[in-house]
């Protein structure tokens, strides 16, 4: 029988099936961070058991870390305790930690791929919904809760029902000024914030196959914003080339053997999907969100639609139906996160701001996704371009995407953000988030208002 890519990976990882119940799914790679793991470790200790496969878990500190003066003790007591707890737990249970100060520290979904830990065909979980990011490599990767983190630590397995499968095809070449973030915001606007719930998505079509790995990660990352547990893409030469030479990727003969195996990871041509959608690259323009869920998005040149049930969102955002967002003054810009905190994102930003100055009303946070991204920003001379434009580069972490550390947007302020969620209060109590691509964020930083990047390139 014809199988989807998802079926092939899932079936290979079934340890057992509970009659009339879920599958017991083996997990190849587990990532943890400081916020959703302490209670799981406490559970392990309380049970008096050991972590079954400590070598299959990798930890980093990202969610609540400061993005300035990381060499100093964390000022916020609770954040410091949480990070210390992670260090203590990793030491006690023999888990590798890339903590603050380590040259590989960074946002968990940035470091996994860049270190080559993430590899095609794997099952990957993490106590974080944006684990979907790793699907770009042809993996089954999804977010889990803390009880499930405990289960993986205890047994390297999870109890899971197989989700339904959805295929989203996008074909054609993106037009200038339109990037992968716009593609996924467009898809979410079409399917709504709950449209993917119960499904695992496979993205297919020439638009995705022409994307870089980093651009693909941006797409898969936001699968959860439609409610889908995850989204994946078949690995190809772009994937294999990306992995070659990375720290933990197979090397030499092993690499060649792995590539042969990875090449078998695709959906058979007549395989069945429970749901299918098709879109065209030519219809996609730079996108902005206007509401308080990622499905409330529109083309940057559109007016806010008069859609039923959106009053509460518009009231929170201080916006009205029929109003355009283009030209609206913004004082805050956030460029970073597991969605758009990689080197290509910063190259995109540099391309726009080079030789220009940020608008005087703008306060911008540029936060690299990892220490390696930060290093690359330095190496390519991008830091100078940013500094000359009046934009400060901070240190790696999740930062103002969720405002757990001190990087917050003040109450009532609009923030043009390359992150993934525009929920009420996400970037700080009362903060108003507008999700955009790095290009749109960069253009808006220069003008101090929401700007169509196509008008300045």
């Amino acid at each position: 029988m014809a199988k989807t890519l998802f079926d092939k990976i899932w079936e290979k990882h079934i340890v057992d099936t509970i009659p009339d119940g879920p599958d017991i799914l083996y997990i190849d790679q587990h990532f943890i961070h400081e916020v959703t793991s302490p209670q799981a470790f406490a559970g392990i200790v309380k049970r008096g058991i050991a972590v079954l496969r400590p070598e299959k878990t990798v930890a980093t500190a990202d969610h609540n870390v400061p993005t300035k003066d990381q060499h100093l003790p964390i000022k916020d007591l609770l954040s410091r305790q949480q990070v210390e707890k992670l260090t203590e737990n990793c030491k006690r249970h023999g888990i590798t930690l890339y903590g603050l100060g380590h040259p590989w520290q960074g946002i968990v979904h940035v470091i996994g791929p860049e270190l080559g830990i993430t590899q095609p065909g794997q099952t990957i979980v993490c106590g974080d919904s944006h684990t979907a990011t790793h699907g770009a490599f042809g993996t089954i990767a999804f977010g889990i809760g803390t009880s499930e983190v405990e289960m993986v630590l205890a047994s390297q397995c999870l109890l899971q029902y197989k989700p339904k499968k959805m295929k989203i095809t996008v074909n054609g070449q993106l037009t200038p000024g339109v990037v992968s973030k716009d593609v996924i915001l467009y898809i979410i606007a079409k399917l709504t914030a709950g449209g993917g719930t119960g499904y695992f998505i496979e993205y297919s079509g020439s638009t995705f196959s022409e994307m870089s790995m980093e651009a693909r990660m941006t797409v898969c990352n936001m699968s959860i914003e439609m409610g889908a547990r995850g989204g994946l893409m078949a690995p190809d030469d772009v994937t294999f080339n990306y992995l070659q030479g990375r720290e933990f990727a197979p090397k030499g003969k092993k690499y060649a053997e792995s590539v042969e195996k990875w090449k078998l990871l695709f959906s058979d041509s007549d395989s069945y999907f429970d749901s299918e959608f098709q879109f065209y690259a030519k219809d996609i323009e730079p996108m902005v969100t206007w509401g308080t869920n990622p499905g409330q998005g529109m083309k940057i040149t559109d007016q806010i639609p008069d859609s039923p049930g959106s009053n509460k969102a518009l009231e929170y955002m201080g916006l009205s139906a029929g109003e355009p967002l283009l030209g609206k003054k913004v004082n805050y810009i956030f460029i970073g996160s597991c969605t758009n905190g990689r080197i290509e994102d910063f190259r995109d930003v540099a391309r726009i701001v080079k030789g220009k100055k940020k608008a005087s009303n703008v306060r911008a946070y540029l936060v690299p996704g990892s220490k390696l991204v930060e290093k690359q920003i330095e190496k390519e001379g991008l830091r100078r371009i940013f500094e000359e434009a009046g934009l400060e580069v901070r240190q790696p972490g999740c930062s103002a995407c969720l405002g757990m550390n001190e990087d917050k947007v003040p109450r009532g302020e609009l923030c043009v953000s390359t992150s993934n969620r525009n929920f009420e209060g996400r970037q700080g109590p009362g903060a108003r988030t507008i999700l955009v691509s790095p290009l749109t964020a960069a253009a808006s930083a220069i003008t101090g208002s929401i700007t169509d990047v196509r008008s300045i390139i």
Binding site: I49, L52, H63, S79, G145, L159, A193, E424
Partner: protein
């Protein structure tokens, strides 16, 4: 885990769609390293003003509204995977959440903590909201064994789905990590054969 019992209670209606986990418990309250006390910050920014005073217009601050059942609009629990959302709801005193649609990760997290997820058709959800609007003291009865939710006064009832494995765990108070630990040999055998 506690064995699940029949829930019979008044309910608190929250007639809003897409209530995400950032609203249930904002990120800045996720810094604890144990599971207790999250109920104090449940719906923090809807419940309290800038100075930490309760906002009288928010329904949880109405002293006449009590109950262990929360009824909410569709797509409840979307967004972040934080289990703290389930902990906060449970710690506050809720034992069941009723909606017409739930996010996947939230559903697992809730069930893993003995917080029952009752998914009903849009039409029945509307009837629940209507009934509570007319009489805030309406009693709702949720029976997991029969998978039934009943509007006691009117006798209107609706079946709700739950996966049979989780149902058994909840009814018997089973802990699925204990179960997984019992499979250690099977897991090791799988590992040795995995290519």
């Amino acid at each position: 885990m506690e064995k699940y019992q029949i829930i019979e209670s008044t309910a608190i209606p929250l007639e809003m769609e897409n209530i995400d986990t950032d609203q249930i418990i904002p990120a800045r309250f996720l810094k604890a390293t144990d599971r207790s006390g999250f109920g104090d910050n449940l719906f923090r920014d809807w419940r309290f003003d800038l100075n930490g005073n309760p906002k009288p217009e928010f329904i949880l601050n109405d002293p006449s509204r009590t109950g262990t059942i929360l009824i909410a609009g569709k797509n409840f629990g979307s967004g972040s995977s934080r289990e703290h959302a389930a902990w906060a709801l449970y710690d506050y005193g809720f034992r069941a959440i009723v909606s017409s649609f739930f996010a996947d990760i939230f559903t697992n997290n809730a069930l893993n903590n003995g917080l029952l997820i009752v998914q009903v058709p849009d039409e029945f959800l509307k009837r629940l909201f209507d009934a509570i609007r007319q009489n805030p003291k309406t009693i709702i009865r949720i029976n997991l064994e029969n998978q039934e939710i009943v509007l006691s006064e009117r006798g209107e009832k609706e079946h709700f789905p739950i996966n049979s494995y989780k149902k058994k765990c909840l009814l018997k108070g089973f802990d699925d990590i204990d179960y997984m630990l019992s499979l250690k040999q099977k897991i090791e055998k799988f590992e040795s054969q995995f290519k």
